[in-house]
Amino acid sequence: MIAIIIVVGVVLYVVYAYNRLITLRNRIKNAWAQIDVQLKRRYDLIPNLVETVKGYAKHEREVFEKVTDARTRAIGASGVREQGKAENQLSGALKTLFAVAENYPELKANQNFLLLQEELAGTEGKIAYARQFYNDNVMQYNITREKVPANIIAGAFGFGPQEMFEIEVAAEREPVKVKFD
């Protein structure tokens, strides 16, 4: 009798722990998809921005190429680490673009340019928040799967560790500076 109770208890626990891990892993997938949505939005904004800046600053070809290349590379990147690196490069290239734009007062007054700048800054903020959300979920998953005795179940069913984005300093979150206040 007691043996049956123990066996049932163990089976119930295994089912519970397995389902918990599945839930957490799917949350990570969802969080990853959230990042992708925002990244896509960013990729869509960049060509428009480049076109707008080109209209005023035709001779800055180098900068345009840098941005376009970085964008292509970022779109092709996969995995947490690679994507993080490619995105950082893209942010750097955009920073240069906005620094160049500073030299063209007419461009800075262009309504379309201001709008794109604002949207881009907003999207970068959302990317940072989406990554934060991703990291939070990964942390919860990793904690759950490393704890005893869930680690046995995680090992048996192949719930591997998930990678987190490098933690950013809050001040770095807005690579595109927008003067507003």
Binding site: Q38, T123, K126, A130, F133, D181
Partner: protein, 337 residues
């Protein structure tokens, strides 16, 4: 079995029982909650229900007392009490956000006009893993903000135009994150229901106090009761008067008991959302330094706002009834993170 004294009518027994029952929701409402997000969420739901129970009891107690001071009012008082006790909590749950927004003269924010606000709130919603709350703007130069609604799916954040003008982006983000936390923790549920229910109780007791002015009619009670009955009548009258005066006060105090400590928790979880406590800390300092009162706010909605919109001067009485903890303490707590 001895017969009951004449003055001890069923109605009065019910009245005493209802008053005793008040203790149950009171205990639930005043139960301390550990400063933990998950605990806070279920506590807010539990306390919202307790608040509704408290409200229903108060309505029936007021109705029974009303019958004592104006016998013959039974035909009106009882059905009215049933209607108010049913409709009050329902309106509080489903319509409080709309009523509060209307009271505050807030209008929906548009993406064209408030691009930064929209982007930030969307970002914070991603970080918190909740739906994006609706944004409203109040045309007023006094900087302030509040959140309302009944759950994260129906969350609303309202900010004044003064807030948008006087704060920089990091500070604004901190304030929005604080309001997001109120939504996520279900603080908005109990706060919004409280606005409606406390308002109704205040209205009802005001109404009852008015009937005192016409003097209680002693038609049925006087002819029936002799000796001890007259004394009981007097005691009941006194009790009715006291209840009518105290009911809105108690309701007010209850609301404060639930609202004060939570500001610290919302500050903390807001800072956790932005991972930048300094933004909210300097925003609070700016809001505290601003002395302009918010015109659309009043005593019934003051507790919703991030800082007290009424700008009352500090005194012992104001401290006792204050809806917000001292801002300096909140800033200090944020800076310690």
């Amino acid at each position: 079995m001895t017969t009951l004294p004449e003055w001890l009518t069923t109605q009065r027994i019910v009245l005493v029982c209802l008053t005793l029952f008040l203790v149950i929701p009171l205990l639930v409402l005043l139960m301390p909650v550990s400063a933990n997000l998950y605990e806070q969420m279920s506590a807010n739901r539990r306390k919202s229900i307790a608040l509704c129970v408290f409200f229903i009891l108060i309505v029936f107690i007021l109705a029974l007392l009303f019958e004592e001071i104006a016998p013959g009012a039974r035909i009106v008082a009882f059905p009215l009490a049933v209607v108010i006790a049913t409709v009050g909590p329902l309106v509080g749950y489903y319509n409080s956000d709309k009523i509060i927004l209307r009271m505050s003269r807030a209008r929906p924010a548009t993406r064209e006009e408030h691009r930064f606000l929209m982007n930030t709130i969307e970002g914070l919603a991603i970080a918190a893993g909740t739906p994006v709350p609706k944004l409203y703007v109040i045309e007023d130069t006094a900087p302030n903000a509040f959140a309302t609604g009944r759950n994260p799916d129906h969350g609303v954040i309202a900010v004044t135009t003064g807030l948008l003008q006087k704060l920089n982006r990091r500070e604004l983000e901190g304030v929005l994150a604080h309001e997001m936390s109120h939504i996520k923790n279900y603080d908005i549920l109990i706060d919004s229901i409280a606005v409606i229910l406390v308002g109704v109780v205040a209205l009802l007791s005001d109404w009852m106090l008015r009937t005192f002015r016409y003097g209680p009619r002693r038609s049925r009670g006087a002819s029936r009761s002799r000796g001890g009955g007259g004394q009981a009548q007097a005691i009941i009258l006194l009790l009715a008067l006291i209840t009518a005066i105290l009911a809105p006060l108690i309701a007010q105090l209850l609301r404060l008991a639930v609202s004060r400590k939570r500001e610290f928790l919302a500050d903390a979880s807001g800072a956790f959302l932005t991972r930048y406590p300094e933004g909210l800390a300097s925003a609070l300092e700016k809001l505290d330094a601003d002395t302009e009162p918010l015109e659309v706010a009043n005593k019934s909605t003051a507790h919703l706002y991030i800082v007290n919109p009424l700008r009352e001067h500090a005194s012992l009485l104001n401290n006792l009834f204050s809806t917000h903890p001292p801002t300096q303490e909140r800033v200090a707590a944020l800076r310690r993170m």
